[in-house]
């Protein structure tokens, strides 16, 4: 492929990582949701670009899903839920943002190291893509483990999953990509519905506030 195509793909993937970083230092829920919408948008763009580059029309569907479902529906739904359940607007971090950012940078470096050891046999785009995708995944996990707040944890998971889709689309000619992205959307829908059903205000740990300090079937 031409270098231009490559650069654009590269740019998009890179900006996805950037978006992850932005999510990492948000401390307001709404802002976080907006950034996530942006994240999903960028993903949709890069997927679409991959579809165009690889002449793989089915990828457009994935892109569409990403755009419609993740960039629009989910954030809106979450906005609603937050309002409905009256969840705190600010996010409690476990460790300070600064430290989190440092950790994030470390993770990105790690993923680069891991991926660049791969022999250039696999074409450059794939390698770059994978490197970025891996860092997005790791950052997503980092968000999940550094936020005490249920919704932000969900958002972290969704960004992680974006990374997966990025990787999947980056893998040229990979079958079942669409199915997988659909399956994942279903999964996420489940989670969101779960949050709504189980009235999860604060954390994953317990299904409602009263149950926060219930014993887990084991305390004496």
């Amino acid at each position: 492929m031409s270098s231009l195509q490559f650069d654009i793909a590269h740019l998009l993937a890179g900006s996805l990582v950037l978006a992850s970083f932005m999510m990492l230092y948000q401390d307001r829920l709404y802002a976080l949701l907006n950034v996530y919408a942006l994240h999903a948008g960028v993903l949709a763009l890069s997927v679409a670009w991959q579809a165009y580059v690889q002449q793989a029309p089915h990828l457009y569907i994935t892109a569409l899903i990403a755009l419609a479902f993740k960039a629009i529906i989910i954030p809106v739904a979450l906005h609603r839920i937050i309002k409905r359940l009256g969840i705190h607007r600010e996010i409690e971090n476990v460790i300070g943002v600064g430290l989190t950012m440092m950790a994030g940078i470390g993770l990105v470096a790690l993923s680069m190291v891991v991926m660049l050891r791969v022999t250039p046999g696999a074409d450059a785009l794939a390698r770059e893509d994978l490197a970025f995708a891996l860092s997005v995944v790791l950052l997503g996990l980092l968000i999940m483990v550094t936020r005490r707040n249920a919704v932000s944890q969900v958002v972290g998971f969704m960004s992680l999953e974006n990374g997966l889709v990025l990787a999947a689309t980056g893998a040229k000619g990979m079958p079942l990509v669409v199915e997988i992205s659909v399956a994942f959307s279903v999964l996420i829908a489940f989670i969101v519905i779960g949050i709504f059903l189980f009235r999860i205000r604060e954390r994953f740990d317990s299904v409602d506030v009263q149950a926060l300090d219930r014993f887990r079937g084991e305390r004496r």
């Binding site: 046999g121 998971f157 990787a167 994953f204 149950a211 887990r216 084991e218």
Partner: protein, 479 residues
């Protein structure tokens, strides 16, 4: 794809799931459930007679043949057990018919998913199957709608999803690694093709891929420190599901892991997966063994023992070598049979005594001799005492690895004996001494439990050659 036995064992559960979803009346549903499971089991038995040809999507080889039969068999016995179990649940009103309809449908869905995971020849398909299995079990774990149940389900759900995500990433990496060698498109995910060309794959990519797969599927296997969902899911869900979880789902996940290990075994430059697996296995064994001591909930205790055994198995495969691999496979089979039998017994006991708290159960061998001694036999089997099957596998694991890696094996042995201490410490309270709790006679179906235990006993004394040859072939492939 023409409908052969492989297709059938996928089709029967799907159809019956659909039927059960619409069918009112739980008695009938339970019967249909049994019938469907039986049909699946019989079809799977036919695999030994006529071997269907493996296609791009489905395959049959020595590795999965035995496990398909095992899975369908335990699926069948568990459905029998579940019939008498839910009967009691309805009477005590813990479940409503509406939930039961859902329950039965989900049960067949789960069967379908696990069979698919076993026969899938496409790593993508396998991944989807495992995800479906997870989701269905999540729904069933939460079925009692108590705080603990919902929480357990939720925990399972979240950790499981992360696991799924990691596994998918690993799968993608495998595809990436394979693409240069086998070209783009579907072939890049067909397992048989992959394993044929695995020698030329990029080792570095494979390594990263294996890390993700190990963690992803390892979460399902319940290896420490990824185990967190397992004990609660076992403890809070309905007992038939605990039986299926311990007996089958863990195996299926482990099976998926094995498939990839075979791939790595072919590729010489790739890091040996051994050390990673051995480490995680030992951690799981020691951790679970120590966790056994402070348990108060009998189902949760046996869940931890499942973790321990998964650790032993992963250790065996990690050490590799024909004997250890053989032992690992044997241990998988034996553990499924034994552990599900134990959960059958525990389920009935919990119903008779009306509690799962160990402290409130006592003197079982006096009040309910059959149940009591049944569970006793199960526990004797699970801690690896002769003449039952697990003793044989543990004998092979330890004796074949000690000369190679003395200290590792000593750690394993320590874990085994600590676990034995923990289990008997608790079970002694349940079995002996003055009777405690309700002493109603159990209206239980003993057949499944004793069938399993009988099989385990037989395996401990005499292994049928067909099993042996199959396992030995696989053991060679596993390297």
């Amino acid at each position: 794809m023409t409908l052969d036995a492989l297709g059938a064992i996928l089709l029967i559960p799907t159809i019956s799931a659909a039927l059960l979803a619409i069918l009112p009346g739980y008695m009938l549903a339970a019967r249909l459930n049994i019938a469907a499971a039986l049909a699946t089991f019989l079809t799977s038995l036919s695999l030994f007679v006529i071997e269907p040809t493996s296609g791009q999507y489905l395959l049959l080889d020595d590795l999965n043949k035995v496990f398909i039969v095992l899975t369908t068999f335990i699926g069948f016995t568990t459905s029998v057990f579940s019939a008498s179990y839910i009967h009691h649940e309805i009477e005590t009103g813990r479940l409503t018919p509406a939930f039961l309809r859902f329950y039965h449908a989900m049960y067949q869905m789960l069967m379908f998913a696990m069979n698919l995971a076993l026969v899938a020849n496409n790593i993508g398909l396998m991944w989807v199957a495992v995800e479906v299995a997870t989701l269905t079990t999540v729904l069933m774990v939460g079925i009692y709608r108590t705080h603990e149940a919902l929480e357990a389900a939720w925990k399972y759900f979240i950790l499981g999803s992360v696991g799924i995500a990691l596994a998918l990433f690993g799968t993608i990496l495998v595809y990436m690694a394979a693409r240069p060698a086998v070209g783009e498109g579907l072939d890049g995910m067909v397992w048989t093709v992959l394993v044929k060309h695995a020698a030329q794959f990029d080792p570095a990519l494979l390594n990263v891929a294996f890390v993700f797969l190990l963690l992803g599927y390892g979460t399902k296997v319940g290896l420490a420190p990824l185990h967190a969902w397992l004990p609660d899911a076992h403890a809070e869900g309905p007992t038939p599901i605990s039986a299926v979880l311990s007996g089958l789902l863990l195996n299926v996940a482990l099976y998926a892991l094995l498939r990839f290990k075979m791939m790595l075994a072919v590729n010489s430059e790739a890091i040996a997966p051994g050390p990673l697996m051995v480490t995680m296995g030992l951690i799981s064994v020691i951790f679970a063994a120590l966790m056994l001591y402070r348990r108060r909930d009998i189902k949760r205790m046996f869940a931890y023992s499942s973790i321990e055994h998964m650790g032993i198995i992963v250790f065996a495969f990690g050490m590799g070598g024909p004997l250890a691999n053989f032992a690992g496979l044997l241990h998988m089979a034996m553990h499924s049979l034994t552990k599900s039998a134990i959960f059958f017994a525990v389920g009935h006991i919990a119903q008779v005594k009306g509690t799962q708290k160990i402290a409130d159960i006592g003197g079982l061998t006096t009040t309910n001799p059959v149940l009591g001694w049944g569970l006793m036999l199960g526990v004797i089997a699970i801690v690896g005492l002769p003449p039952l099957g697990i003793f044989m596998s543990e004998f092979l694991v330890v004796s074949s690895t000690f000369a190679r890696a003395p200290w590792l094996t000593v750690i394993l042995v320590l874990g085994i004996i600590i676990a034995l201490g923990g289990l008997f410490l608790r079970v002694g309270v349940v079995m002996f001494g003055e009777p405690k709790g309700k002493t109603a006679p159990a209206e239980a179906s003993y057949v499944p439990m004793f069938t399993h235990l009988g099989l385990v006993l037989m395996a401990g004394i005499y292994l049928p050659p067909v099993l042996v040859t199959g396992f030995q072939n696989v053991a060679k492939l596993l390297g």
